[in-house]
Amino acid sequence: MKKSKADPKGVLTGSHFMDGDYALAEGGLAAGCRYFGGYPITPSTETAERFSERIPYVGGVFIQMEDELGSIASLIGAVWGGKKAMTVTSGPGFSLMMENIGLACMMETPLVIANVQRGGPSTGLPTLTGQQDMMQARWGSHGDYEIIALSPDSPQECFDLTIEAFNLSETYRVPVFVMTDECIGHMHEKVVIPPAEEIELVERKWYKGPKNKYLPYKNDTDGIPFMVKVGDGYRFHTTGLTRDERGYPLLNAECQATCVSHLIDKIKDNADKIIHLKETDIDNAEILVMSYGITSRVSIKAVQEAKKTGIKVGTMQLKTVWPFPEKRIKELAGKVKAIVFPEINAGQVVLEAERVVGDKCKVVSVPHYGGWVHNPEDILNAIKEAAK
């Protein structure tokens, strides 16, 4: 994995007061993203607006595509043209992107998609928050594959995790999602952008060998194949069909097993390196509050109140939601009495917690159907109930 420092042209070093949507764009620019293809959708539009305003000064392309199908398809093309690329969307647009997210997975194309989630299903709550696309991020395209999904809890993390998303996407040649929500997207806070030399980036894994020996899907020793870009004389082929090392279609069960297991294993086998958690007071905790995104912020109040009543509460913020931190949760399940898991959906990621802990401890879902964040009191009551 070759690392480099950020190009100062894209880095707006300093302290800023900006919303999460803008911070996503700044994170992308700092990470070296020089192609943005997008389609307007509330509550994510400000990211596209910011990018369109900033990119002329940085050197790159912003294009507003005709729809989200076009946005994501154009991103894949841009990446094979050698660029780092991102887009932003929200629920309905995310649904439209699903087929080509599968293509990006199959072609092992690194790119970043930010989803500023709103309440669904369908048009749902365009201007109000939700965390209802978490399972869709993982399973939304057809077939078996693995992706990486991060979830920022603040505008600062929108910036930081977008850079992390680019680095992960380049490391594992996989689409990476930044799953934020309307609340954080429109929340203005302090965002500190460090100097370019303090931002470490993962470079694309360029192939350097002889031109006629290049195999687009031959795994390197780390399990990740090398990449090339168009115009460099490799005259390579890639396809959305099940393919062999040459990138040629090979439609049989053996090739399917090799191809699909690779797409899954390259993420699963590296889960420990990918997963990024923030834990507090975990050692003697009897109750573990698990959460991600805005819900982590809301949980703080409930946890403080619960502690006042003498309940020992630890917290785990999932900065990485997918892959799911199975190993760590299994460890903790033997130690805590219960896991309390608030999410702004009917209970999605909590299902994974339930699956992982089995009967080792109780798992309490604290659902919220969207439109607003939890009342901390609801989380507090769930903690109290679980501690009984």
Partner: protein
């Protein structure tokens, strides 16, 4: 070079094909291979730098073309070849990007991208093989199926109106529009050569026989019969008013080059506009922006 090599004559277009993938999947009598030959011939005649051209296909019979051409080649999703090519072109402006796909892919499921790429004058060459039906999936009715023709999902005949692709693309802003049939091999080659040398959105429709499905279902005979139809019923009218180019069932086929004009491409317009508005602060975008 050993003796055996010396005695092996190669077809000159093999240079452009992935011979390790032959035989191809197309049916005997199908016209797609003919169009591929024209494309390869155009590259050969132009002595085109094969490292500086990429080909993008969608899904369907013609969607398989990318897989058989020995170029940087992408077999993408159904209908999305044009936006994929758009991203590729914008990321790598010094590469010529050719979209090679079928009528269902480009004008059916991908119709929105077709008109928008034309509107933007995206610098792409789009070769649209029109065989009047969805062939890969079994001969279903398409946006291009002539009225009254029979298709597997129009078993009592098609009562919908068909797209007139040259008219749509011209209206949307394409700077080069031509239509030929698979019979007009040399003219297809020449159109592709012209399109390769043009900056802007070029659209070339090539009407081709689908023997296995369209012809059989409509009892039109084999490939030769369809070529005979093209021979009898096609009429070259360069510069024809594209509004007059509707295709009726077994009716007249007006072919030719209808549009060939100059207009700034998306990137030309972007660079010119942003330079004039932002002045020196604008980072001119082009081939050196890697």
């Amino acid at each position: 070079m050993n003796k055996e090599d010396q005695n092996t004559e190669k077809n000159p277009i093999e240079e452009i094909l992935r011979m390790d993938r032959m035989p191809h999947i197309w049916c005997p009598g199908c016209g797609i291979g003919t169009v591929v030959t024209s494309f390869a011939e155009a590259l050969r005649k132009e002595k085109y730098d094969l490292d500086k051209i990429a080909i993008v296909s969608g899904i369907g019979c013609t969607g398989r073309v990318a897989g058989y051409t020995k170029l940087d080649s992408f077999h993408t999703t159904h209908g999305r070849a044009i936006p994929f090519a758009t991203g590729l072109k914008l990321a790598k402006p010094d590469t010529k990007v050719v979209v090679f796909s079928g009528d269902g892919d480009i004008s059916g499921i991908g119709g929105n991208h077709l008109i928008h790429a034309a509107r933007r004058n995206m610098d792409l060459v789009v070769i649209c093989v029109n065989n009047f039906n969805y062939a890969m999936t079994g001969g279903q009715v398409a946006a291009t199926t002539p009225k009254d023709a029979n298709a597997s999902t129009a078993p009592y005949g098609n009562f919908e109106n068909a797209f007139n692709l040259p008219y749509i693309t011209e209206a949307a802003g394409a700077t080069y529009v031509a239509r030929w049939t698979a019979l007009h091999l040399r003219r297809v080659t020449k159109s592709i050569q012209e399109a390769l040398n043009k900056r802007g959105f070029s659209f070339i429709e090539v009407i081709t026989p689908c023997v296995t499905l369209y012809a059989r279902r409509n009892r039109l005979g084999d490939g030769l019969n369809l070529l005979k139809y093209y021979y009898d019923m096609s009429e070259i009218q360069h510069g024809a008013d594209t509004r007059t180019l509707d295709i009726s069932y077994q009716g007249k086929l007006i072919v030719g080059k209808f549009v060939d004009k100059e207009k700034p491409t998306f990137l030309d317009a972007m660079n010119k506009h942003l330079s004039s508005v932002l002045g020196d602060k604008y980072q001119l975008y082009g081939d050196n922006n890697d």
